[in-house]
Every structure is written in structure tokens, then in C-alpha cells.
């Protein structure tokens, strides 16, 4: 590839959108695990067989993990459509039915959340789904009713009625979306069918009483290109995602302090969990007088259930690289490292390719875009230690030492990698940077709340209907995230709590779910924002077991350097284990609290300081459960464990156990 210049970048900014007809297969690790590679192959085969000209390519993941493998189609005469839970058979049908016969497939369409309130033109398809949690699914009944009603009115050959996989609305009764405009009706009842057909279909009128006019709760800034572009293609990034436009703008017209100032305006805070202001971190590093400075992208994502960093690196590696380059320019650094955990081979592969492509295009190397700014980046693999996400341990790991934290000060911004000033930013933080520089800090600060600005990506998992990535402005409530975006609790059970912040976080009980999410509010509730893992727990989950699960993780991952964490964690786990087997004693709760206090206050790094959080927060909100285990003894413990595994209680078990 010839070197990219400012002129070329300017030309890319002008080019019209790519080809009009395409099929995108979302191939991140999650998609691949669900069989997306087979889907891609099936689509290509079918396309070639049918001698179609439309382009079929891989993209990253939009984040709908629950629906993997996900395929998106844009073809002539059809609205842009996303299909979920696609197998090779369905893939072939997509080519045949959707592309060739211009008919949507039943049961796989994921309705768009970019809903409209005006019809604009004739309706071509109707999506329908019963989103209620009632005992019977009325989707097919309404599909049939709509078809019948249209047939009666003689419009059935014009409009296809399709059962959707997901409407993006939950517990809103029967939901109907009219395509291509995406006008959406919720809580549709049987008598409404006739009106939809007679007024909306025939007369082009929007039924205001049914209309769902609330905007989508999500705002995609970090994930803006995920699922939109081919992560392996620099060309795609340049052409279709305003790729390297922010870097071009920075290098052409901004001094490093201007960049820091823009970041300050944006209010962006570190997305790795601690929420340290990003501009300040850059400023502190920029202030150091040193011929060598480093910028490190911390991609050692390790919280159980968290996968947003992986998804971003796999779906949009160039954005993270661009963010890193802008950070480096702002701080006067010439070398960057991606510290990626080795368990993310796909992310490593794609970032490596992105680096090579950027280097070949002159975007990495000496005198980038003729600006005099030089920078290069390398990848270092994390060998599987959670604690290496901690800054000083991460640096030790890159230096080839044992990955143990060391005391701060000196902070990495003063003495970091190889003794040089170093700024360490999380993947999500860096991915936000190009958007901020492109659209302005003030624009970014317009999202979210004071003092938590912008958006945050959460990986919502656990007992939730739709496990997926969610990007919402700060200030969105937990309940909105769980119920309105992710469809609520699995199997219609009741929610008990949401765990945030991974092993360093805590549980937030049902009664606090209306709290707007921000660094501060979560902390007040005894949890933390963390990197963005969010685990939903239902009424049958034992909170003692939850505490045990997270604590065990930290005990396994403790580097063993400092006594409070090394021994405290282990001893707490022993006590929790005793309690969960019904062998606890009343004074155990006191000892637990005492050890929690010592660990929080006397541990060297964040891992140890926060490891007691899951225990403390469950003690805070669910003390009765602990007491029930202690008072109920082993028989209670057995009953609880059967409840969780879903086994029916067996009354004679007690006899069997004692005989």
C-alpha cells in the first residue's frame, strides 16, 4: 500500500459509502465459537452457486452475543436486515430467500432499534413478536391474524409478515415493526390488527396510541464501528469509518497540549475501572522530561464475564491503534505496547495485522503524515495472570519479570516501563479517543452525567435473557440495562441482584437497581464500575455462593506478594466454604469482616484492596442468607444447592446422608 498522506485522508473523507449490496458475517471469537465460519462459507458457496455479485465479507461483532452467529444483509429492494442464530442451513436460505426472492426469513430477524415515528413510504414487511412473558407465545397467532386481515383487504401479496427473533423491546406485549421505516407498535392487542392493516398499511397513518416513540437507550461511540467494518481491512476502516481522520486532524493542526485540553473537555475517565481522568494521566506523562516515553494499551481483560475489550479489539483494532497514536502524540511518546492476554488469540491476530497494515501505509513509523511525529507499536502477550492488569504488574510482565505489583509511588507516569514515563490506558478508553478528537470533547461530554461523562460498554451476562454488549450513556439505570436493553431475567424469574465490577465489585440488590450508573453511585452502593462486567442473578442464586465464586477467583489470581491478600483471601474463602456447607459459626461473620477490613486497607494493589468487595456487599445486603446457612446447618446448605441446580427437593435425602 502506498503511504497515506493528508491528501489521501481528505479524499477518503469524501468517498461515498461502499457497495450497495453486501452480506456481513460477524466473526469475533463469540461468533466463531457459535459457528460463524461455517455460516460464512455457506453464504459464499450459495452466492457463487447463484452467481450473485453481492460482496460477502467478515466484520466484527455488534455485540449481540445471545444471537450469535449474526449475519447482516443489505440487498436490492430489501431493508437492511440483521439475522441472528444463523446456522449454515439458514445462511443458505438467506441468500436464496432474502437476496434472490426478496423475502425475509421467519424467526431470525433482529429488529433494528433505530425506530422511526413516521412511515415515509409504503410498508414492505411487518415484523411481529410477542415479547410478553405469558404462558403462551402469541407471535404466530398475530402473524396469522395480520396475514388474514391483509388477505381480506387484498394487500397480502404486497406485504410480508415475519416472525422476528428479537424486537429490542421486552415485556411490552406483542410488538410489531413496520418496515422499511421501522415504525414500531408495542402492546398490540388482537383488535388492533385490523387498524394496523386498514390505517397504517392502507392509508399510511401512524397509530399514535400504539406507537413506541422512546429512543434507543444505547449510544454507540466505542462500538461505533463494531460489526460495521472488516477488522482486517485498513481500506474499510479508512473508507467507511472515518479511519485515521482524527489522527490526521491532530497531526495537522493540534499541539500536544491542545489534545490534552480536548480530552479534558471530554471528561473521559479511565474505562479500566478506576475512573482516573484520562487527560490527567496524559498530562502527568507529558510533563515528564524524558527522551523515551511509552504508551501501553491494557488489554489484559480478565474479569469473569467481561468481554468488551476483546470484542473491540477483534472488531475494530484500528480505532484502538489510532487512539493509542493520538495518546502518544499528546504525551511525546514514540513507542506503544498492546498488552493482550494470550487467551485472546483472535484479538492478537487482528491487532497484529492492524499494526502491520498501518506500518505498511506509513501510519506507523517515522515522520507520520509528514508531521515529524514518529511512533511504532508492538504486542506483548499476557501469560494468564489477572493481576497483570494492574499497572505496575503489567509493566513488570512486559519487562519479563514476575508479574507482581510494586509500590507506588513512583507512578508509571514518572517511572514506568524500563524506568521511563509510561501511560497505561484501557482498550475502551483508547477506542473512545478518535471519536472525541473527531467530534470534539464538548460533544462527548454531552453524553452521560456529571462527573461521569460519556458512554460505557457493559458485558451483560448471567441469568439474563439476552447476554450481550451494551453501550449506554453514564446515568442509565441498571434496571434499564437489564430489562429494557437485555430483555430481563432468564425464564421470567425474578431478579435478585446485579453484580458489577467483576471480582473487585459488589452485588447491587434489586431495590437499588434504579440507581443511575456512574463511578460514584456504584461506589456508594459498595460496588464499582470496574471494567464493565455485569452479572445478573435471579431469586434462586445463593449470595454466599456468589461471594465465594468471586473470592475464589481473586484467591486464585492473587500474585502472593503481600500478606493481607495472599493469606486473607485464602482464609476468607475457607470460612465462606464452611458457611456454604452449613458448617459456619456465628463468630465467622465477625472474622470475615475483620479480614475484609485488613485486606482492603493493607493490601498493596487494587486486586487485594477490592477482593473483599463481593463478600462485604453480600454481607451488607444479604446478611440474612449468611445467617440462614449458619443457623440452618448442613441440611439447609443441601437444600440450597439443590435449588440452584434445579433438582427437585428429595425428602429422603437427609436419611440417606445420615445412614
Amino acid at each position: 500500500m502506498n503511504p497515506i498522506t493528508h491528501e489521501k485522508l481528505a479524499a477518503y473523507a469524501m468517498v461515498p459509502p461502499g457497495p450497495a449490496e453486501w452480506i456481513r458475517v460477524q466473526l469475533d471469537t463469540g461468533g466463531i465459537a457459535a459457528g460463524a465460519e461455517g455460516v460464512l462459507e455457506a453464504i459464499r458457496n450459495k452466492r457463487d452457486e447463484a452467481r450473485l455479485s453481492l460482496s460477502v465479507h467478515r466484520v466484527g461483532s455488534v455485540g449481540y452475543s445471545y444471537a450469535d452467529p449474526v449475519v447482516e444483509v443489505q440487498s436490492a429492494g430489501m431493508p437492511r436486515t440483521m439475522y441472528g442464530r444463523v446456522c449454515p442451513g439458514v445462511a443458505a436460505r438467506i441468500v436464496q430467500e432474502h437476496v434472490q426472492q426478496q423475502r425475509l426469513l421467519d424467526d431470525h430477524v433482529i429488529a433494528t432499534r433505530k425506530r422511526s415515528t413516521v412511515l415515509g413510504g409504503p410498508i414492505t414487511q411487518i415484523l411481529v413478536k410477542d415479547t410478553g412473558t405469558g404462558s403462551s407465545d402469541k407471535t404466530e397467532f398475530f402473524q396469522f391474524s395480520l396475514v388474514e386481515e391483509m388477505r381480506r383487504r387484498g394487500v397480502s401479496d404486497r406485504v410480508q409478515v415475519v416472525r422476528a427473533l428479537d424486537m429490542g423491546l421486552y415485556n411490552e406485549g406483542v410488538v410489531v415493526q413496520l418496515l422499511p421505516s421501522a415504525v414500531t407498535y408495542a402492546n398490540v392487542l388482537a383488535p388492533d390488527v385490523a387498524r394496523i392493516v386498514s390505517e397504517s398499511l392502507a392509508e399510511g397513518k401512524v397509530l399514535d396510541d400504539l406507537l413506541w416513540s422512546d429512543p434507543d437507550l444505547q449510544t454507540r461511540i466505542v462500538l461505533r464501528n463494531c460489526g460495521e467494518i472488516d477488522p482486517d481491512s485498513l481500506e474499510d476502516y479508512l473508507r467507511n469509518a472515518q479511519g485515521y481522520q482524527a489522527l490526521g486532524r491532530v497531526l495537522a493542526g493540534m499541539q500536544p497540549p491542545d489534545v490534552v485540553a480536548e480530552m479534558k473537555t471530554s471528561g473521559l475517565r479511565g474505562r479500566g475501572g478506576a475512573g482516573f481522568p484520562t487527560w490527567l494521566k496524559w498530562q502527568l506523562t507529558a510533563n515528564q522530561k524524558s527522551p523515551q516515553k511509552y504508551v501501553i494499551c491494557n488489554a489484559d481483560e480478565g474479569d469473569p464475564g467481561a468481554f468488551m475489550d476483546r470484542s473491540v479489539l477483534e472488531s475494530d483494532p484500528h480505532t484502538v491503534l489510532e487512539g493509542m497514536m493520538i495518546a502518544a502524540y499528546a504525551m511525546g511518546s514514540t513507542m506503544g505496547y498492546f498488552y493482550i492476554r494470550a487467551e485472546y488469540p483472535k484479538a492478537v491476530e487482528r491487532v497484529q495485522r492492524a499494526i502491520e497494515q498501518a506500518r505498511a501505509a506509513g501510519l506507523l513509523g517515522k515522520n507520520i503524515l509528514g508531521s515529524g511525529f514518529s511512533f511504532d507499536a508492538k504486542i506483548r502477550l499476557g501469560a494468564g495472570a489477572f493481576v497483570c492488569g494492574e499497572e505496575t504488574a503489567l509493566i513488570a510482565s512486559i519487562e519479563g519479570k514476575r508479574g507482581s505489583p510494586s509500590p507506588r509511588p513512583p507512578y508509571p507516569s514518572v517511572r514506568g516501563l524500563w524506568g521511563h514515563p509510561t501511560a497505561i490506558n484501557n482498550v475502551e478508553t483508547l477506542a473512545s479517543v478518535p471519536a472525541i478528537l473527531l467530534r470534539g470533547g464538548a460533544w462527548y461530554a454531552g453524553h452521560g452525567t456529571e462527573p461521569s461523562r460519556g458512554t460505557k460498554v457493559f458485558a451483560v451476562t448471567g441469568k439474563v435473557q439476552n447476554a450481550q454488549l451494551v453501550e449506554v450513556p453514564m446515568g442509565t439505570t441498571l434496571r434499564q440495562i437489564v430489562y429494557e436493553i437485555c430483555g430481563g431475567v432468564l425464564d421470567g424469574k425474578e431478579i435478585k441482584a446485579v453484580q458489577t465490577g467483576g471480582p473487585s465489585g459488589g452485588v447491587i440488590p434489586d431495590k437499588h437497581l434504579d440507581t443511575p450508573v456512574s463511578y460514584e453511585t456504584l461506589q456508594q452502593l459498595g460496588s464499582i464500575m470496574g471494567s464493565g462486567g455485569m452479572l445478573v442473578m435471579d431469586q434462586h442464586d445463593s449470595m454466599v455462593d456468589v461471594a465465594k465464586f468471586y473470592l475464589r477467583f481473586c484467591v486464585d489470581e492473587s500474585c502472593g506478594k503481600c500478606a493481607p491478600c495472599r493469606i486473607g483471601g485464602y482464609q476468607m474463602l475457607q470460612i465462606l466454604d464452611r458457611i456454604s456447607r452449613g458448617r459456619g459459626a456465628a463468630e465467622d461473620l465477625n472474622t470475615l469482616r475483620r479480614i475484609c477490613g485488613a485486606m482492603q486497607k493493607a493490601s498493596l494493589c487494587g486486586l487485594g484492596q477490592t477482593a473483599p468487595n463481593p463478600v462485604l456487599s453480600t454481607l451488607r445486603y444479604f446478611i440474612d442468607e449468611y445467617k440462614a446457612y449458619i443457623e440452618g446447618g448442613p441440611s439447609y446448605a443441601r437444600k440450597m444447592s439443590r435449588l440452584q441446580t434445579g433438582e427437585a427437593p428429595k425428602e429422603n435425602l437427609k436419611v440417606a446422608a445420615t445412614s
Partner: protein, 581 residues
């Protein structure tokens, strides 16, 4: 200067001073189990937490520098409670074997538990069962007693550059162990014992051989004789509450005689012999151009081991003279036995050394059996001697002064300073100057090689020729000196030095791995001062003027570097690279 307040007291300290050190200035002791004055903070134990006004976290005093305007609280109920719980946690991971531990009564963990008045176990104890490492003759590592403070690892890696010890595994299973999980004897360990001198607990101790000595003393068939290393006389008093540097030479003579030794010798005597041999060797190489320069001293067995493992390109530079310990051993079983008419096979030679590597030296090579027997039968460290004295019921400090046995007992000021860094060089220069010029040095003290600086360099003039010397202590400092020589070799330049002295332990033997616990630079200075005072107090301060040394050569060896001297007093070195490619 930094101005701040600690416990409402004003403190003013230089920038960069830790809160821990600053607190000492206002008579506040913040407890710690991991921070050692010699070492950088590892921040491992978590006991030194303090609070800064306005801060919501507790901070570690060991690794946090005091800043202007800080208002530090070192003790309040919260802080003490957290410390107590942390200490209880450490104890819950430690075997309660105090009464049978090598550190009983001298253990930092034990005394802290007493300070905190911990009288019951509220946290169930868990100690991983890992067998002790007894693979060397010098050091025993009891992994179960390790509190993972990291001192030994740091001293082994950073101060000594040996890299024998490291941390393995993680979490509760974290353990200090030879890197690669091998036994210590197969590791790069040079047995310097600095790990044991810095360990806060009984996890690393010298291999105790007092039992063997007791039974030999009781054995009528054996003629037990003993030698005392230069540095032991100024350190053993610490085990009895005396200030470091107190010279107890003559009380030691009495005490050892009371213990039952038939003859009490002084390693200072053989230090003088070493100087005579080594200075002659230097003259051979320097004036007569026979052999390579720089000449490098070889009396430190840890250094010798380190050289053979890691720096064997310097074998030809090594002085072939044995260490004073071994010289005295072989002379006792040959010269002394002959003169006194004792059957050499009956002589049982015990050495009292400041050093754990000296235990290893006893069987280093076959030359250590030059007398036809094991030249030195057993080596005790200063700490073991102190224990024996306490067991014996002898009121050590109240003893009358005694004298050493003749033939191998008289010593000069040059011999006694062997125990301090720079001492061997200084003693050698005193004699070498005389050998080269036939004149005595005008100023007997060689100040440039004294003091605790890691590498000391100096020049002196011998008959118009400049002699460049270097003195290094602490093995990490040695490598710096060796690299300079290597660079000169590579580039064909003139050697930067003619004579190099190396001692493995910081401060030299007075800071040895077998010395009483609690060493730091202040103590090292006091101990060294004791030796230099002993030097000043001696009438004779030149090794070659030692009348018993003169007699030894007249009656037995002939002259320095004679064939007999070579057979008995010299050794060889072999490259023993650890990691073969």
C-alpha cells in the same frame, strides 16, 4: 527538605525519605516485617500502614516518601486493628514451632506477636507442607516458616547478583525457593548466607553443627583445636548485648579453652600467612611478569564459588593462595602436629567463622585435604558459637582474658583487618610494598580502600610505578569491576587494575552471613571500627613481621611460594558453568 507532621510532631527530612524512616526521627517505630534497612521496600507484609490526613486509604510507610504538609497518624485504633489482623493472618500461615526453631528468641515475627499481645488463634492455621532444603552444607531453608517478605530474594538477586532464590507459584501457594524449583545445591547459590542474615524468621538458617562439636569435645580420642576468624571477635558480643565492634578476642580465647579445646588458634595468624603468600604472588606477577594481572584475592569462598560458576574467565587472575581458614587447618595438622608430637589424625579442627560459605569451603576441592586429612573438620558461624557459649553455662562476659596457643596464635594488625572490606588489600599492600622496595610504607593506613562504598579504587606508588587497586564488596558490585577488566581485555587496552580485592558480603566478613542478626550499615561501620582499633592497638602491623610467621617459614615452609608452601597453602580453580548451552 520536606516539612510534615507525624503524630502531631514536626518532622523535617530530606526529600525522598520514607514515612517509616521519618517516623524514626520522632522516636516512632512503625512495625514492619519486610522492610530491611539494607534493602528497598518490597511492600509485602502490610504492617507498616499509616494514615495521612484527608486520605481515604491507608498507605504503606515503608515505600511512601514523606511529602510536604502531610499529617501522618501512625497509630490509632483502626490502624492497630488492621495491623493486628494482618499479623494474625501471617501467623495463621506460619507453623507455631517457636520453641524448636533456630531463631527462637531472635525472631522478628515472634517479637511482633508478643508486642501485639496475640494470645489466641482466631484464624484457623494453614501451613503448606513443603520439605526443607538441606542440600547444602551451609544453609537450611525451611519453606514452611517463610513469610514471603522477599528480603532474601532481593538480597540474593539485587545485592549479590546470584539469582539463586526467587518466588514460585502464586496466591496462597506462593513460595520462596531456588529458581526453577531445584534444590539449593544445584542452584547458582554461592552460600554467602546473606539470605539467612536478612531473614526475619527461621526460614533460612545456617546449618547448625554445634552438636558435632559438642560430641567431639567429649571424645577423649580427639584433640580438639579451634581457630577464630578476624571478624568474629568484634561481633560475638552482640549476641550478649554488647555494642557492635566490642573487641572480645582475649575473652574468646578463655571461653574456648573453657569449652574444652586443647589449643586455641587465631585465624588472624593464618591471615598473615595468606598475606605473605599473596603479596609474594603479586610481586611475582607485577614485578617479574609471571602470571596474569590483575591479581584477584581468593580468601572469600562465596566469591570463589561465584567466580567458578559465573566469571571463570578470571581463573588465571585468581590468587592461588588458600583462605586463612584452610591455611590454619592444614598448618595445625602438619606443622603444629609435628612440632607438638601429636598424631595428625587425632586433631579435630573447628573454625569459628562469620560465614556460611566457609562451611562449604571445607570440602571445596581435594586441596582442602592437603594435610592428608580434612584440614578443617567443622566450621561454626558466630551465631552457633554464641549458642554454644550460652549452652555451656560459661559467664562469657565475666571471663578473665586469655591467650592463644603459640605457633599459630600470634597476629598482626594486618591480619585482623582481613575481616573488613578493603582489609585484605590494605594488608597485602603493606607487605607487597616492603617486598618490592625493602622499605616500610610511610603511612601504614591505606584510607582509599576503607569504608562502605560498593567499589573503591585507589592508586599507590611502588618505586615510581603506579599500582592501581580496586576493592569490591557485595557481589553485584564485583561484576562492575570485572566488566571493566573485560572491556580492557577485549579492546587490548592496559588493565584498569593491578590488584582487586573481593568480598562477597556487603562490608566484608564483619557483615557475613553467619554473623549475629540485625546487620545494617550502621552496625557494619561499628564492627569495622572495632577491627581498625584492634589494628591500631597491635604493636606489629605488617604480616611479614609476625614473629610466628617468620618462625613458620624458617622451621617448616622455607620461603613464600616454596614447593612446600605450594603443596599446603595453595589451591586450584575449575570453571563450573551452571547453565551449559
Amino acid at each position: 527538605m520536606i516539612k510534615a507532621r507525624i503524630n502531631d510532631l514536626n518532622v523535617e527530612v530530606p526529600e525522598g525519605t520514607s514515612i517509616l524512616d521519618a517516623a524514626r526521627q520522632v522516636q516512632v517505630r512503625i512495625p514492619t516485617l519486610c522492610k530491611h534497612k539494607d534493602l528497598l521496600p518490597t511492600a509485602a507484609c502490610g504492617l507498616c500502614i499509616v494514615r495521612n490526613k484527608g486520605g481515604n486509604k491507608m498507605i504503606r510507610a515503608c515505600c511512601t516518601p514523606l511529602e510536604n504538609g502531610m499529617e501522618i497518624t501512625t497509630h490509632d485504633n483502626d490502624i492497630v486493628e488492621v495491623r493486628r489482623t494482618t499479623l494474625e493472618l501471617i501467623l495463621s500461615n506460619h507453623p507455631m514451632a517457636c520453641l524448636t526453631c533456630g531463631r527462637n528468641g531472635e525472631c522478628e515475627l515472634q517479637s511482633l506477636a508478643a508486642d501485639f499481645n496475640i494470645t489466641n488463634e482466631t484464624i484457623k492455621r494453614y501451613v503448606r507442607d513443603v520439605p526443607a532444603d538441606r542440600s547444602t552444607d551451609s544453609i537450611v531453608i525451611d519453606f514452611t516458616k517463610c513469610i514471603k517478605c522477599g528480603r532474601c530474594v532481593q538480597v540474593c538477586q539485587e545485592s549479590q547478583s546470584v539469582w539463586a532464590l526467587s518466588f514460585l507459584e502464586r496466591g496462597i501457594n506462593t513460595r520462596m525457593a531456588p529458581a526453577g524449583d531445584i534444590v539449593l545445591s544445584e542452584s547458582p547459590c554461592v552460600k554467602c548466607g546473606q539470605c539467612s542474615a536478612h531473614c526475619p524468621t527461621g526460614a533460612i538458617v545456617e546449618k547448625d553443627e554445634t552438636g558435632a562439636v559438642w560430641s567431639s569435645l567429649m571424645d577423649e580420642g580427639k584433640v580438639c583445636v579451634v581457630q577464630i576468624a578476624p571478624s568474629v571477635r568484634v561481633t560475638v558480643g552482640e549476641a550478649f548485648g554488647l555494642p557492635p565492634g566490642t573487641n572480645l578476642t582475649r575473652k574468646l580465647y578463655s571461653a574456648l579453652r573453657r569449652l574444652g579445646f586443647s589449643a586455641v588458634f587465631d585465624t588472624n595468624f593464618s591471615a598473615d600467612v595468606t598475606i605473605v603468600e599473596e603479596a609474594s604472588e603479586f610481586i611475582e606477577r607485577f614485578l617479574h611478569k609471571k602470571g596474569q594481572l590483575p591479581l584477584i584475592t581468593s580468601c572469600c569462598p562465596a566469591w570463589t564459588d561465584f567466580m567458578e560458576k559465573r566469571h571463570y574467565d578470571f581463573i588465571d587472575n585468581f590468587s592461588t593462595a588458600k583462605s586463612p581458614q584452610q591455611m590454619l587447618g592444614v598448618l595445625a595438622k602438619t606443622y603444629y602436629a609435628e612440632k607438638m608430637g601429636i598424631d595428625s589424625s587425632r586433631i579435630y579442627m573447628v573454625s569459628i567463622m562469620p560465614c556460611t560459605a566457609k562451611k562449604y569451603e571445607l570440602s571445596r576441592t581435594e586441596e582442602m585435604h592437603a594435610s592428608g586429612f580434612k584440614d578443617v573438620d567443622v566450621c561454626l558461624t558466630t551465631r552457633e558459637l554464641a549458642r554454644m557459649l550460652k549452652q555451656s553455662g560459661i559467664d562469657f562476659l565475666a571471663l578473665p582474658d586469655g591467650d592463644p596457643d603459640s605457633l599459630l596464635g600470634d597476629y598482626t594488625g594486618a591480619g585482623t583487618i582481613f575481616g573488613a572490606t578493603g582489609g585484605v588489600m590494605e594488608a597485602a599492600v603493606r607487605t607487597a610494598y616492603f617486598y618490592a622496595t625493602g622499605k616500610k610504607l610511610e603511612k601504614v593506613e591505606l584510607e582509599v580502600v576503607r569504608g562502605l562504598q560498593g567499589v573503591k579504587e585507589g592508586t599507590l606508588n611502588i618505586e615510581g610505578t603506579e599500582v592501581r587497586v580496586a576493592v569490591a564488596h557485595g557481589l553485584a558490585n564485583v561484576e562492575e569491576v570485572l566488566d571493566k577488566v573485560r572491556a580492557a581485555r577485549r579492546e587490548g587496552r592496559e588493565m584498569p587494575y593491578h590488584f582487586i580485592e573481593v568480598m562477597a558480603c556487603p562490608g566484608g566478613c564483619i557483615g557475613g552471613g553467619g554473623q549475629p542478626y540485625g546487620v545494617d550499615d550502621e552496625r557494619r561501620r561499628q564492627r569495622i571500627a572495632g577491627l581498625y582499633q584492634d589494628d591500631r592497638d597491635r604493636i606489629i602491623r605488617y604480616s611479614h613481621e609476625n614473629p610466628e610467621v617468620i618462625r613458620l617459614y624458617q622451621d617448616f615452609l622455607g620461603k613464600p611460594l616454596s614447593a612446600k608452601a605450594h603443596a599446603l597453602l595453595h589451591t586450584r580453580y575449575t570453571a563450573r558453568p551452571l547453565y551449559k548451552r
